[in-house]
Symmetry: D2
Subunit: 346 residues, 4 copies
């Protein structure tokens, strides 16, 4: 990082900054220019980035030059992570579509949905047994009964199960039934939960937070990975904005951005980004066109009866329509573009 | 619209609201329910929507039920508008790619870019002679000299010219040279400019504002159209967010949304939404995949020498690469989806 | 709530909506107008608000008329809640200033800060033993050792302790040491944690989430209160915006708004809203001027050595300066204004 | 500014950057560190800040160290600007309250309001003759007739007139009647209008844009000042956010921030920030408590009949109530705090 001193900074103030940098185990490299003095901080100490630099006299600002994430970073892991679960692969050119109801309701519905989405080409089944709802008076999820229904659906179809964990005390239960553990937007910076998931050995899907930046999303992945787990899938579900047409706002530019910053797979949840069935498929399609590694979508045969989020559920026939369209889509490849760019630059 | 009265609203308060509604030339339809009283307001008076409803005693809230735009609305113009300029069509299945430098610099550069983008498949040339810059001390545009350079480029290539007007007093000059007049994000709610453009007879490209919603974008189009002009192209260039990875945030869900709410063509400006050359093409591709009617992109052979916005300019070879990719893209068609949805619903 | 049907809605579609409303245990009151048909839904069923209304044929939109929170609402609890802890009162005209270090570091520092803030007029001591940090590689808190230091500081000064709980599995430990339990911005919608806190019998401070609205803040309070706890203090710490001058953006209009919507006390955390020591006091002062029931501020004698958030810590002398200024402030009283307004309206 | 080179940047790439810097008339100061190479750019060339730095091979990022505004900056004008118009002073310890109707309607109303606000202590009269409305079908202002009514009100009361200009072609007309020319939020980055205002010799009130940052607000002031006008008043009217309780979101931290960054007076428009009469006064009061140099407020005796924005108009008696409260307010003084801070730091 770089510490920029104010024009009027005194030699004593510069010395104090340098002394502190060294006391924290890093090296300070002073460059006294005519117009300003810059102190380069060298040493792999993330802690230093968080020091209260402007509390020091004479400091104008401190600027991060490199990103504070490592295990999630492509710099330290140049090749794509390919995550495999029960024969299904995601990342490194393997696309994966996950579909299912928002909440688990009856066994009949869930099994029917599982069969329908499998027939249409889905490779995993999603379904929530514990639901983060804005109101405490609405349906909070079916709990372990719901997890058992998912298990039945898995037995009937062979689809691995994706389900959400909402707090540290649910981990044992969720671990028993889930093949991939999902962390929702409201828990994207629940750091204790992230660390606890990082100590397990099952892949995790990490949604971005309600208003996180791409770098914060990666830092949350880093929290999980710092505890050991390597298999993290980044999921884009949109962020909050002042636009009222949709539930959230999803910028597809984040897909190639995250894929370049990180080696982790990136999937799109257009059910939650749009919040409206009519636009879920168009955005899913555009996300795959931008090079996403997969999708996670809500499907329900009778949205009027869905226990939550019915407004954004695709009908099974919508999902089938989308999957057929996707079969003929030629996706953008940022890697191909980079190769072309590097060759062209010669 | 609907006016919802408070539970405790008195008969006198309800009467006062009704009396006012009628004095404004509309009809009031009172529904006294057990739990609440609702007053339906019937009559095509946009003015009424803006009345200070909560200034009336006993009013809980007033809710708009229908949208306040008409000429831009698909409800009143069900078929797609197809805009044609010098043989180039946009809208109703006709895609159009507009490309060129951000600012007009030398004739040599501009003519070279025009030839290059035409060879790659562009159908119109963009270039700014007047530039809205955040700082008054940076390059403000080349003025009429720049417009003449664009004219030369048009003579050499036959490409129609898209250029930006920044204020009412520039209209005569811009009108003389432009084939399509562009209104930028910072002027998207400069209502006097919008009305002045609406009195001309040349197509306009209307960018969304820095933080406008989709409905406000359509209301700005309505401003233009209320003066007579029918040929308006909506352009998405992203809106401001807290995400720092990109210059702006662009939600592709807005493409099918605007196309359904309005009959006007919708194009994507991923140069301004991303602000970074590396991601311009991926987002342009995803925008076309989502069904956009076209693109407007910045291209410059030597971005280091560009007079503005060089960081987001594609090289001519990048543009050619993108155009070749687009040739094989099968775009999502929201119309096809609607047809399928309506048939399926039978 | 109100369901607005489309103009073209058929009788069969209206019937289906009505049938569903009744099957959910509520009453439907149909108002067939010339221009539109409105269905009033009567019955105290929050669940109904969340139904997927637009999945029904013929529905234009569904509009909430009343707020979905109850226990937190002033409508059902007209008088101010006054929360008392170890003789300190907050709410209903009793202001309370809570101050202390961001993180608990050494006993020496913490005891010194506690004495200093008490001398200046603080009524409670804040300090974090578990810290939510964006990076897993930065200081994560001192844990139970830190809680013991807070206990010592309490013994020395008599100040009750405010400290943050980060996850359900920390509750027992935090409960043992805290007098008031704080829930941070990143956990503001960690619904399992909220419910678990609601089953305890110690007051809670609930910060708004990173990007929550005022209504969502109140819904999170409702989550706690739905489990039984009545003593909840709402804390405003700003929300995320595109403004880069400060860490967050805090609108003081929320102070009277929350106080009118709810009977719960509202306090201001300008340490986190501004993120910069230079502006913490000005905003704290303005917040109290707007009628806030208290403050929660970070104070540290040597911000350069603070283990976290040193940039926003006040020095003990700054805090003393602020407290002296506050002694002479005449706060705005929205209640006085309402009284005046009601009298004036006669 | 500082250009940070990538670790792997070659000597040739560094040379190319240096060569370009020098060709632009500035000096490059290279600091080749072990971990990274930093190039300091010295020379007062704003243009350089806007160069497409990342288009150069080997550049990691370019960082601005100093602010790009000068005439508006306190660095180059340490003492407060005091603006005087017809004996009324604003800035440098002189507070000024401007009040009046949103739109000018009848002479009777406007004169009555002018008398009422003057009696309560207002020092200037606001009123719009040209109104920026979201819909083209709502009232667009009363034009020159309205300006004449304002003139009459001035003759009756002696209050100087504040009125809004919406476009370059209205300047002559507005100039004839206005004592202070207001530039609204939607024109805050209408750079041609700003420059035209800067060539006049009447004070201007510049509102922040709908989603501008504090620095952009100052850059817009710089646009005006770059043409010669020195008398600019910064007005905070809130920015767009996802909070739905209010029309806009206003962070009072911006008041001391702008006053420190700039020598220009800062006033608060809580009519537009809240959008609701009930909260206008509380926020106005908090803004003055935070040290604002004045207020601009909407007042109307019969908001139900107001031609625009009635929901946010104070009644004359509300305004009087607020003014009496303000008389007893002791405002925060950031200057006093800085003095104390500097003394304390010795």
């Amino acid at each position: 990082m770089i510490v920029v001193m104010k024009k009027e900074a005194t030699a004593r103030q510069i010395d104090e900054v340098v002394k502190h940098i060294e006391s924290w185990g890093a090296q300070a490299h002073i460059d006294r220019g005519e117009a300003l003095t810059v102190i380069g901080v060298i040493g792999d100490k993330t802690e230093i980035l968080r020091k209260p630099w402007t509390s020091f006299g004479g400091v104008e600002k401190a600027l991060e030059v490199s990103d504070p994430f490592k295990k999630a970073s492509r710099k330290f892991h140049p090749s794509d992570s390919v995550i495999e679960i029960e024969g299904v692969k995601i990342g490194g050119g393997h696309n994966c579509v996950i579909a299912g109801p928002c909440s688990v309701d009856t066994e009949e519905y869930v099994v029917a949905i599982a069969k329908a989405v499998k027939a249409a080409g889905a490779q995993a089944l999603r379904g929530g047994a514990f639901k983060p709802r804005t109101s405490p008076y609405t349906f909070q999820g079916s709990g372990e009964d719901g997890l058992k229904i998912l298990q039945t659906a898995k037995q009937e179809t062979g689809l691995p199960i994706v389900t959400e964990v909402m707090s540290v005390d649910q981990i044992d239960l969720i671990y028993k039934y889930a093949d991939i553990i999902q962390i929702g937007a409201r828990n994207a910076q629940n750091f204790n939960l992230l660390k606890a998931i990082g100590r397990l050995n099952k892949p995790a899907i990490l949604k971005n937070g309600i208003a996180t930046t791409a770098k914060e999303h990666l830092m949350s992945a880093e929290y999980i990975m710092s505890e050991g787990l390597k298999e993290v899938i980044l999921c884009l579900r949109g962020t909050r904005s002042y636009e009222t047409a949709f539930r959230n706002s999803l910028d597809v530019a984040l897909i190639p951005y995250l894929q370049e910053a990180s080696h982790l797979p990136v999937i799109v949840d257009s059910s939650h980004s749009t919040g409206l069935r009519s636009y879920v498929s168009a955005v899913a399609y555009a996300g795959m066109a931008a090079g996403a590694d997969g999708l996670i979508l809500e499907v329900h045969p009778d949205p009027k009866e869905a226990l939550s989020d019915g407004e954004q559920a695709l009908l099974p026939r919508d999902f089938e329509f989308l999957m057929k369209k996707l079969a003929n889509l030629k996706a953008w490849s940022q890697k191909e573009w980079r190769r072309f760019d590097n060759e062209g630059a010669k």
